[in-house]
């Protein structure tokens, strides 16, 4: 998972939220429950205190020792459960303590200062006889109904360990449960992110298929939120194709519209032998070149935006072979073709036709009758990562001296004026090869003539 990714963002925010929210909720629950447990403990102490007072009332001037207390632990020595009855403010009178207290006594919140006062009850947390923490509640009350009955302090103590242990146990279980829940939430978030983002990787794959030419549109079932994106992408691809098609048509129309009058001008001027005719001839030729040049540029600009075009090589080669063998029928040119039918060019059919057509036409024009075309898939290397195909075109003509080969690529350059042609063919080839980031190598063929090696992007078959 990359840091700068949707998956990471979703996962990180969900994790942060879980890490903050779970402990807060845990603390709230923990404090509510521990308060509840302590409240229960306190009300039990309060109950014992009331029972202690009522059991001690005799109606006389002295309390009696209470016997019927509901807590048996008052009778077990150092049990942590104690009670004590003693006269208020050191007045005269008997003092009673529970058997559990043996010979000890309980510190009086009334005398030591209470931490909490509730009506006539006073609360204090103290240390017991064995040093264990105790909570003491003490009630100031009389033992008779009449006026001036002696006032006594009735105290009951319970071990704070008792609710403490319950609270600790609960806290441990709570922490464990919340930790497990946190982990489960994180795992669920992770899965959720993966599942939710899967359509995006589907789109990525679909677009890559379109770029590779394996598909022409984005197909497949997408979730409702992604579907508009799919529709828009497909519309974009279609409109892209429309624009190119329109541009092509316009370019073709322009060509037709301009070239016919230009042909008329050229031929009219050719008829006359005047300086004006010569000038018209020269300028018409210049205009023709300019038109071709800008038509090529327009075609290439239109093509730069095309996506996902693939062209099987063999049908293009066969079409050119038929046409060229017919065009050069007088010379009896034979074009020997060696090309796997699975070979596929990553690009426009028209571009491949221009590339191979111009090279084959040149080879046919200059050959003594034999032209060879060989097309193969080449392995990727450092200079050409990805898939490439190599087309080699050779002829048995006179060839081109090494020094002149570079000049062949220049627009309007014709090495030999005796053969018909515009001098544009090779420069179109050069421009096209460059636009496909391919390569064109010219060398001497073993057949005697020129050998042109064309490297072009291919599609893995």
């Amino acid at each position: 998972m990359k840091v700068n990714s949707l998956a990471f963002r979703l996962f990180a925010t969900a994790t942060a939220w879980t890490l903050i929210a779970l402990p807060i909720v845990g603390m709230i629950i923990y404090s509510l429950i521990s308060n509840l447990i302590l409240d229960g403990f306190d009300s039990r102490l309060r109950q014992h205190t009331w029972v202690l007072q009522s059991e001690a009332i005799t109606g006389g001037r002295e309390p009696s020792r209470p016997e019927n207390l509901a807590e048996p632990l008052f009778g077990v020595t150092n049990s942590g459960w104690y009670w004590q009855i003693k006269p208020y403010n050191g007045a005269q009178g008997r003092t009673f303590v529970s058997n559990s207290l043996a010979t000890g006594s309980l510190p009086s919140p009334h005398e030591k200062g209470a931490s909490r006062v509730e009506g006539d009850m006073r609360w204090l947390d103290v240390k017991g006889p064995l040093g264990q923490p105790l909570r003491v509640v003490e009630l100031v009350g009389t033992i008779g109904e009449e006026e001036g009955s002696p006032v006594y302090l009735f105290a009951v103590a319970g071990p704070l360990d008792w609710p403490g242990a319950t609270i600790n146990n609960f806290g441990l279980i709570l922490a464990l449960a919340f930790a497990l829940m946190g982990l489960a939430l994180l795992a669920a978030t992770f899965l959720q992110v993966k599942v939710a983002l899967r359509p995006l990787s589907m789109i990525e794959k679909g677009l890559s298929n379109i770029r590779n030419g394996d598909a022409v549109r984005l197909d497949g079932e997408y979730p409702a939120e992604i579907e508009p994106l799919q529709v828009e992408l497909n519309a974009l691809i279609e409109s892209n194709e429309d624009i190119i098609e329109r541009a092509r048509t316009q370019v073709g129309n322009l060509a037709h519209a301009l070239k016919t009058p230009l042909a008329v001008l050229t031929n009219e001027a050719d008829q006359k032998d005047t300086p004006l005719a010569a000038k018209v001839s020269e300028q018409a030729a210049l205009m023709g070149n300019q038109i071709s040049h800008y038509l090529d540029r327009a075609r290439m600009a239109a093509r730069a935006n095309t996506i996902g075009r693939v062209t099987p090589v063999l049908p293009v080669v066969e079409g050119l072979q038929r046409a060229l063998e017919r065009i050069h029928l007088d010379k009896g040119v034979r074009i020997a073709v060696e090309c796997d039918e699975k070979l596929t060019f990553r690009g426009e059919k028209q571009d491949l036709e221009e590339l191979l057509g111009n090279l084959l036409d040149n080879a046919s024009k200059w050959s003594e009758g034999d032209v060879q075309l060989q097309a193969t898939l080449v392995d990727a290397d450092r200079a050409h990562p990805g898939q490439w195909l190599k087309v080699t075109i050779e002829d048995d003509g006179p060839g081109v001296p090494e020094a002149q080969r570079a000049a062949m690529m220049k627009r309007g350059q014709r090495l030999d004026e005796s053969k018909p042609g515009s001098g544009l063919g090779m420069s179109i080839v050069h421009d096209l090869v460059t636009s496909y980031r391919g390569e064109l190598l010219l060398s001497q063929s073993v057949m005697g003539g020129l050998k042109a090696e064309l490297t072009l992007p291919a599609v893995r078959s």
């Binding site: 070239k259 016919t260 031929n267 050719d270 046409a323 017919r326 065009i327 029928l329 007088d330 057509g357």
Partner: protein
């Protein structure tokens, strides 16, 4: 030799007709696809110049219709669309050659000559028959190296016979290939031209085959 020019641009059409007539072709012309198609289907032409962008019926359709109807005359396509895809489509439709606009008339005429020769089965630009030699490039006829002066009609006659040497050519066929469509086919001026031609080149080269026509050949059956 009889040529058909199908081109909708009136100026270019006129230029083509003039150039072909100057080269001693008899030229019919059409300015739309339908008319061109009809002429090509009904008249015997030795060469057709066909523009692809035509009103009413485009050139490729016209060409395909001709080829489907087994019309075999050589056709040179003329078009502004000079991409190889267009050329391949044109050749696949049955064209014999392809010329992109703008072009020089000289190049067109060279291709016309080449197609006419090719259709008659001659590989070289010079056709020989005994001492007589026809240079299709210059349009010159020589007899034993001496230039033979010919009128336009005589040239068309000897050119057609030379292109089809060794074959018996009927009078009707000669009329069809020497005159345009409006010519009166019953005329017997052909005999007059043959008679004149026999005085300019060795007379025994042109044999009269009774009831069939004429045959130009070097075998002397005298």
């Amino acid at each position: 030799m009889r040529a058909l020019v199908v081109e909708d641009d009136p100026d270019l059409n006129r230029q083509l007709v003039t150039a072909l007539e100057d080269a001693d072709y008899v030229v019919d012309t059409a300015t739309d696809g339908e008319e061109g198609c009809f002429l090509g289907e009904t008249e015997p032409y030795d060469i057709v110049i066909l523009d692809l962008g035509l009103p009413q019926m485009d050139g490729l359709t016209v060409l395909e219709q001709w080829r489907r109807g087994d019309r075999k005359m050589p056709v040179i396509i003329l078009t502004a669309r000079d991409r190889w895809s267009d050329k391949v489509a044109g050749m696949d439709a049955g064209a014999d050659d392809y010329l992109a606009k703008p072009f020089h008339m000289e190049e067109l005429l060279a291709r016309v000559r080449a197609q006419v020769r090719r259709a008659a089965g001659h590989a070289k630009s010079e056709i020989e028959c005994g001492p007589v030699r026809l240079d299709t490039k210059s349009g010159r006829v020589t007899n034993d190296g001496q230039v033979v002066k010919l009128t336009s009609h005589e040239y068309r006659l000897v050119s057609y016979l030379m292109h089809h040497k060794g074959r018996v050519v009927s009078r009707t066929e000669l009329v069809e290939h020497m005159y345009d469509q409006d010519f009166d086919r019953d005329s017997n001026t052909i005999e007059v031209f043959v008679g004149r031609l026999r005085k300019k080149i060795p007379a025994n080269l042109i044999r009269t085959v009774r009831g069939l026509g004429y045959c130009l050949s070097e075998e002397d059956e005298g």
